[in-house]
């Protein structure tokens, strides 16, 4: 059965979807295990995301809406300011500063936020562990994390890097699920809108960043350059795994570089950095050397797509547009020349997307399992749509808007319409 085209199509899509799925799954598990027994009277956290208004369940609906809108507005403005700041820094080549800032923030996220999550896990399951051991383990975990995310010159397995990327996403997302309900929803909507503007509107910070990067021939902003793994260079059989997915390098000429959620005051700031790196995909393999030839990419085994044989870049590049039935015919061989240079990039997905997808699913998990499944499907299909659009437009696209819109829509549809229906029929043991 070798040679069946079923095996070579969609590798890159799955390669992006699977880490997102893993991230969402873990966030949901975390939310479940931590929220099920914890006392309801937890002090609501005060973060940049609810600077203005602290929601309490007793407030009236209009109060909640108003307050959460204000929160979202402030949060988005903060993010926009931080992003512009980063763009300016990048524009003036403050790469060292950015690099160290990112290291610091990754350290902070892993150590402090991750640490507090570990503490609550330990408390929750009453794991017997003494403080010193715990501290040493945490320190090790954090240091390895920082090194693997921003390693330069140190050969670190790509799998480790991806694991840490997903972990960063999980930690930040788990943190965000502590926000009150209304604030979460308005925040998600606001971020999706911001994302749309920042990436697509002329003068949007992320658009500037991406253009700047491509004009300088960097991988993505300076931020990216730093984060770029050296590992994958030695050898074409970079086991790109999670983030970038199967076919990697050539497969997608288009890059989807996005980072959002750059910063939210205290903790969000830190997150910024992780966001950025995440995207950069590690497979900046120099294709030029291997251009037309056959090369095989082995996707890491954990992913359980073993050894995908890829024959020539052209092929894999096609599937996306082929599925649409468009594109291919129209841009016949222009690809071979033009696109090749660009082909050194894989699909990149911002860690911010990971985070906010997971926040949505985590929020849904607080209601019911059914909403979780519905939201998961909606988000994944939104991501799929975005990827397909990506292959059509071939420019950086925002990944949040479609997914978030679908996710929120399905959440409320499920909650309002489907749940009573399904519960009604299936408690009568009627199914179809």
């Amino acid at each position: 059965m070798d040679g069946s085209i079923l095996e070579s199509i969609g590798v890159e899509i799955i390669g992006v979807m699977s880490p997102v799925s893993i991230c969402m799954l873990l966030v949901v598990l975390l939310v479940y295990s931590l929220s099920s027994f914890s006392s309801p009277s937890v002090e609501p956290i005060r973060t940049a995301a609810n600077l203005v208004y602290l929601e309490t369940p007793s407030d009236s609906t209009s109060q909640k809406i108003e307050g959460s809108l204000l929160n979202a507005l402030v949060f988005v403005i903060l993010i926009a300011v931080v992003t512009f700041l980063l763009v300016i820094l990048y524009y003036y080549n403050f790469t060292n500063f950015l690099k160290n800032y990112m290291r610091f923030s990754a350290f902070f996220v892993l150590g402090v936020m991750g640490g507090s999550i570990f503490l609550s896990i330990i408390r929750q399951f009453s794991i017997p562990i003494d403080a010193i051991t715990c501290f040493i383990l945490l320190l090790n975990f954090t240091v390895v994390g920082v090194l693997s995310v921003f390693a330069e010159g140190i050969p670190i397995p790509i799998v480790l890097r991806q694991v840490y990327m997903v972990l960063l996403g999980i930690i930040v997302a788990a943190w965000f699920t502590n926000l009150p309900e209304w604030t979460t929803w308005t925040l998600l909507v606001a971020l999706a809108v911001y994302d749309l503007v920042a990436v697509l509107a002329p003068g949007g910070p992320l658009k500037i960043l991406v253009e700047l990067a491509s004009s300088r021939d960097d991988d993505l902003p300076a931020l990216v350059y730093e984060a770029r793994p050296t590992v994958s260079r030695n050898g074409r059989r970079s086991s790109l795994g999670l983030l970038v997915g199967g076919v990697s390098s050539d497969s997608v000429e288009v890059e989807m570089a996005r980072r959002d959620g750059n910063g939210s005051g205290e903790m969000m700031d830190e997150e910024t950095s992780p966001l950025v790196p995440s995207l950069r995909d590690r497979m900046g393999v120099n294709l030029s050397s291997s251009s037309g030839s056959e090369f095989s990419v082995s996707v890491d085994a954990a992913e359980r797509f073993q050894e995908t044989e890829i024959v020539e870049g052209r092929e894999e590049r096609r599937p996306l547009s082929a599925m649409l039935g468009m594109g291919n015919e129209m841009e016949p061989e222009l690809s071979s020349g033009d696109v090749r240079e660009e082909m050194t990039r894989g699909i990149k997905l911002g860690l911010g997307d990971f985070v906010f997808y997971s926040v949505l699913v985590g929020r849904a998990a607080m209601y019911d399992l059914m909403t979780v499944y519905a939201c998961y499907l909606a988000i994944i299909s939104g991501l799929g749509c975005t990827l397909i659009l990506l292959s059509v437009f071939r420019q950086a696209l925002p990944a949040l808007p479609i997914s978030i819109a679908l996710g929120i829509m399905f959440y409320f549809l499920t909650r309002v319409l489907m749940e009573p229906f399904v519960v009604g029929t299936s408690t009568n043991l009627m199914m179809f």
Partner: protein, 251 residues
């Protein structure tokens, strides 16, 4: 303990699908995409149906006919959707073939087509199990369980998992039967699928009667197993036929 029970229910309903997924689907990314999209389609169909029935629910009477109509509309709607899916699949198959020609790879084999149908069916089945069984499982991880009055022999979760398993089987393999039937223009195959679906749905009405599940569930399993057997027979026939027909040409 209850955690173990909850996981047990999940595996009972989805174990076979999981095995199919791991062995067959997960190695081919395209099939995963098919599976996801067919799950999404099923979810949408469920939402549309529930939106439609929202007006009439909850049904107050004890009469059987409103429930029968509910099942009937649902089955009709979903079978209509299957036709639309088939149209979509047909287009996609052409595209895939064109694509395969362009990259000088062989066109879709018969087994490929069957796998696509299987992935689509599995998507429907999984969606069914997820929304009718897994979606309600949250309480089962907690410290208690739940019995329904009309079938108090086993916990509700166990019963719904068992019923879901039957439906997963039916959905999964009836998609293979239906797609083959459409492809070959075989009327029997085309008609047997909605019939099976309808019969299975109507059989669950038996559960409404007190202790009805003792009769209803075994009957449901008879339907599920015969679907499985029918599908197996049909696939075997097709495979042997094409083998005979293709062997001389391939050389």
């Amino acid at each position: 303990m209850t955690l173990g029970a909850g996981i047990g229910y999940v595996l009972l309903a989805l174990g076979p699908s999981l095995a199919l997924f791991v062995t067959l689907i997960s190695t081919k990314p395209f099939l995963i995409l098919i599976l996801l999209s067919s799950t999404l389609v099923w979810l949408i169909s469920l939402i549309v149906l529930s939106g439609f029935w929202k007006v009439f629910l909850p049904i107050k009477t004890t009469a059987l006919w409103p429930y029968a109509i509910l099942i009937l509309t649902s089955v009709v709607f979903q079978e209509g959707l299957r036709l639309i899916l088939w149209r979509g699949y047909k287009k996609m198959e052409d595209m895939l073939d064109a694509f395969a020609d362009r990259v000088a790879k062989p066109r879709l084999y018969l087994t490929d087509k069957m796998q696509i149908a299987l992935a689509g069916g599995l998507g429907h089945g999984v969606a069914h199990a997820v929304f009718f069984c897994l979606g309600l499982l949250t309480p089962s991880f907690g410290p208690a369980t739940f019995y329904v009055d009309k079938c108090s022999y086993a916990p509700f979760f166990l019963i719904s998992a068992i019923i879901s398993l039957a439906f997963v089987t039916i959905h999964t393999f009836s998609m293979v039967i239906a797609f083959n039937g459409y492809a070959q223009g075989n009327k029997t195959d085309q008609l047997i699928v909605p019939a099976v679906h309808l019969i299975a749905g109507m059989l669950t009405l038996v559960n409404l009667a007190s202790s009805g599940c003792v009769v209803g569930i075994p009957l449901l399993y008879v339907v599920a197993l015969s679907t499985l057997a029918y599908c197996g027979k049909m696939v075997w026939r097709r495979l042997t036929e094409t083998q005979i027909r293709l062997t001389p040409q391939n050389q």
